[in-house]
């Protein structure tokens, strides 16, 4: 007999999931659209909802996955019940363009009516920005996690800032090195 209810879930509450998938780098915008469409249809069928959809763009992988050194990252936030995720993961295994996926449960007591969806399948375009995203930067704003893409120009600026900080630190650490010579100073004995 199939399980119809998870006793851990409160009635009227849904779970919120983060879902990341990595696609093959040679995916066309049409491919991406088809994959998201299939996923959207499945989630609709299971009474779930996509509340956020983001394209992180083409990114270099930290290690080789299925002979690919690059991948297109897609990030979704899904609301749904416990039986949704096995179905979604099954679909991901069937699509050959998907080289890696990961689901993470963020919260299990979300009121589905209180959360509005920013995602609309009609307006979706599968275009991936040409510029490869170097790094991602995540910051928290009013409890919401904001993901910012850092382009090469930005990273140069931060590197400069970091370099300045390093020089300042060096200036600070100078007395430290001196202390090795004067070991018997009473200050040095304190921890």
């Amino acid at each position: 007999m199939p399980i119809t209810k998870s006793y851990r879930d409160e009635i009227g509450k849904e779970r919120e999931y983060e879902f990341i998938m990595i696609l093959k780098p040679d995916c066309t915008p049409a491919d991406i659209k088809i994959i998201v469409q299939r996923m959207h249809d499945l989630i609709e069928r299971k009474n779930g909802q996509i509340i956020k959809f983001e394209k992180w763009g083409k990114r270099k992988l930290a290690y080789e996955i299925k002979k690919n050194n690059e991948g297109i990252y897609l990030y979704l936030r899904i609301l749904g019940l416990f039986d949704l995720i096995p179905e979604v993961e099954k679909l991901m295994r069937m699509i050959e363009k998907v080289i890696r996926y990961m689901t993470i449960k963020i919260d299990d007591t979300v009121d589905p009516e209180a959360r509005s969806s920013e995602f609309d399948i009609e307006t979706l375009d599968g275009n991936i920005e040409e510029a490869d995203v170097d790094e991602l930067e995540v910051s928290e704003k009013d409890g919401e996690v904001v993901i910012k893409k850092v382009t090469e120009e930005d990273s140069k600026e931060t590197e400069e800032k970091e370099a300045e900080e390093v020089t300042e630190e060096k200036a600070d650490s100078e007395p430290e090195t001196d202390s090795t010579e004067t070991e018997d100073k009473p200050e040095d004995t304190k921890e």
């Binding site: 290690y63 790094e135 991602l136 650490s173 430290e176 090795t180 040095d188 004995t189």
Partner: protein, 78 residues
């Protein structure tokens, strides 16, 4: 006796306790990269100075980030 000869070292502190803007998240490989070695190993709190609470979160986030290839499991051997 032994204490007197000990060299003065700057006290280590937990980067996440000190800086609220630093978001500990697996989607943030820039931050996580500071807490792994060149070979991809997680740096122990004994060395990095991270407090035990944050070290626990950090380990979890690093392992998630590895799964989606944002940071490496190991460095490539050439």
């Amino acid at each position: 006796m032994g204490r007197r000869n000990r060299r003065y070292r700057k006290r280590k502190y937990c980067a996440f306790c000190a800086n609220d803007n630093l978001t500990l998240d697996y989607k943030n490989p820039r931050v996580l990269k500071d807490f792994i070695t060149d070979r991809g190993k997680i740096i122990p709190s004994r060395i990095s100075g991270t407090c035990s609470t944050h070290q626990r979160f950090l380990t979890r986030e690093i392992k998630k980030a590895r799964m989606v290839a944002l940071i490496p499991f190991t460095a490539k051997s050439k």
